[in-house]
């Protein structure tokens, strides 16, 4: 138990070093994931009717979460994969991808 507590303590200490902009993206990712989880709980407890609306709501949350995590990876200075990528370019990609995702979801929601 103490080992688990130690893991969480270390994580909290290390996370404090994370830049505020990355933390904001993390907050968005957690928000998207929580909303998806709540919709899934609703589907299990109450029902999936109308199913297309449930899928649209659930998948847009997951899609938004994935795109946000991708943006986080691109903006993280410690990540060696995207060192040459300008953060402005990453944001432009993120906005474009979100626009495409939302168009698909709005079309599917019924």
């Amino acid at each position: 138990m103490e080992a688990v507590q130690g893991i969480f303590r270390t994580f909290a200490q290390e996370y404090k070093k994370t830049p505020p902009k990355i933390k904001i993206l993390d907050a968005f990712a957690v928000y998207a994931l929580t909303t998806a989880a709540l919709q899934f709980i609703y589907m299990r407890l109450v029902g999936s009717f109308p199913f297309n609306a449930f899928l649209a709501g659930f998948l847009v949350c997951i899609g938004f979460f994935v795109l946000t995590v991708c943006l986080r990876l691109q903006l993280d200075k410690q990540s060696s994969d995207f060192k040459d990528l300008a953060p402005e370019r990453a944001l432009a990609d993120y906005v474009l991808c979100n626009c495409a995702l939302f168009l698909g979801v709005w079309n599917f929601i019924g």
């Binding site: 929580t34 709540l38 029902g47 626009c99």
Partner: protein, 339 residues
């Protein structure tokens, strides 16, 4: 004297006989020569000794007699024309046993109409077989006609389901068969209740089912097809309105939580917004473009279709891309300068 039926060449030419009882009176016994009923046209021609025509006059003579129907034959046959049963109905007497007419069968009623005194076969102006179901208030009429090839003058009334369906629909029932005969040359009108026929309901009729018609006895192509029931999609069960509203609130809670965390815990602010005037304008345009695209999506969801939405989206997308490029490139330049 010449006698002819209306519209036909002279049928009879006879010399009048001088009456022995009264001088100057000429007589002719028409009925001893012809017993045909109907309207006759008489032409009286006076001829002199030198064969010269002295005068001519015309007149009409209606020959009437009492009409009487002979015995009737009722033949029931199936769709192939094979005789199923043959019943003889004596004149004026109602049959003791009822007949039954199935969907694929036909009933042919044959009879002869004669004049009583002349005993001549008459083709009456009106001859019908009336089918009467008083319990349902239904009546159907079948015209009796002489067959074209027949020379005996018999009249035939053929009862089929298609004939009945045109008049009373697909209803079946117990119908009284009443023979009705009328003619201007007849001194009487005949009406004879011959018997009762049970008509099975056609496909879709109600009585056939009620009487338990055994359609399995029929050939396959005459059996009624199974009734088609349209199965509509049952609406899925929906939760009570309160539950829907409750979960809407619960799903919106993380958004409130996000706003709270951003504002208080993470210190999100607008300090990074460009200070330069041109960069500020392009940044505002970029954000306004994103907002307008999301607004367009909402309008698309509420009422527009994709074909209307895409051209507007293309215009908004171009404007947003142009302003975004300006805003982000200025920000990148500023970042590089600062480094």
């Amino acid at each position: 004297m010449a006698a002819e039926k209306q519209g036909t060449p002279p049928l009879l030419e006879k010399l009048l006989q001088q009456s022995s009882e009264k001088a100057g009176v000429w007589t002719f016994d028409f009925l001893s020569e012809r017993k045909d009923l109907g309207l006759w046209q008489l032409t009286l021609v006076a001829v002199g000794d030198d064969k010269k025509v002295l005068g001519e006059t015309t007149g009409e003579l209606l020959v009437q007699d009492e009409l009487r129907s002979g015995d009737a034959t009722l033949v029931l046959s199936d769709s192939d024309g094979d005789e199923v049963s043959r019943t003889k109905a004596e004149r004026g007497i109602t049959l003791a046993e009822d007949l039954s007419l199935d969907v694929s069968q036909e009933l042919k009623v044959s009879f002869l109409i004669k004049s009583v005194k002349g005993e001549q076969v008459v083709q009456p102006q009106h001859a019908f077989l009336r089918l009467d179901d008083a319990s349902q208030g239904l009546q159907a009429y079948v015209v009796a006609k002489a067959e074209k090839k027949s020379t005996d003058g018999r009249l035939h009334a053929t009862v089929t389901h298609s004939v009945l369906e045109k008049q009373i629909g697909q209803q079946g029932g117990a119908f009284k068969m009443v023979l009705m005969v009328g003619d201007p040359a007849g001194t009487n009108a005949r009406e004879w209740t011959m018997g009762t026929v049970h008509v099975a309901a056609s496909q879709g009729g109600s009585k056939g089912k009620a009487k338990g018609m055994d359609t399995h006895q029929l050939p396959a192509h005459f059996r009624p097809l199974p009734e088609i029931y349209h199965i509509f999609q049952q609406p899925s069960p929906r939760p009570p309105q309160l539950v829907s509203y409750l979960f809407t609130g619960i799903v919106l809670l993380p958004l409130g939580g996000l706003g709270y965390v951003l504002a208080t815990q993470l210190g999100a602010n607008l300090k990074g917004f460009p200070q330069e005037q041109l960069a500020q304008v392009s940044a505002v345009c970029f954000h306004a473009g994103i907002a307008s695209i999301l607004g367009l999506y909402t309008i698309f969801w509420l009422g527009l279709n994709l074909l209307h939405t895409l051209p507007i989206l293309a215009v908004l997308g171009l404007l947003t891309a142009a302003s975004g490029y300006q805003a982000l490139s200025r920000q990148a330049n500023a970042r590089l300068k600062a480094q």
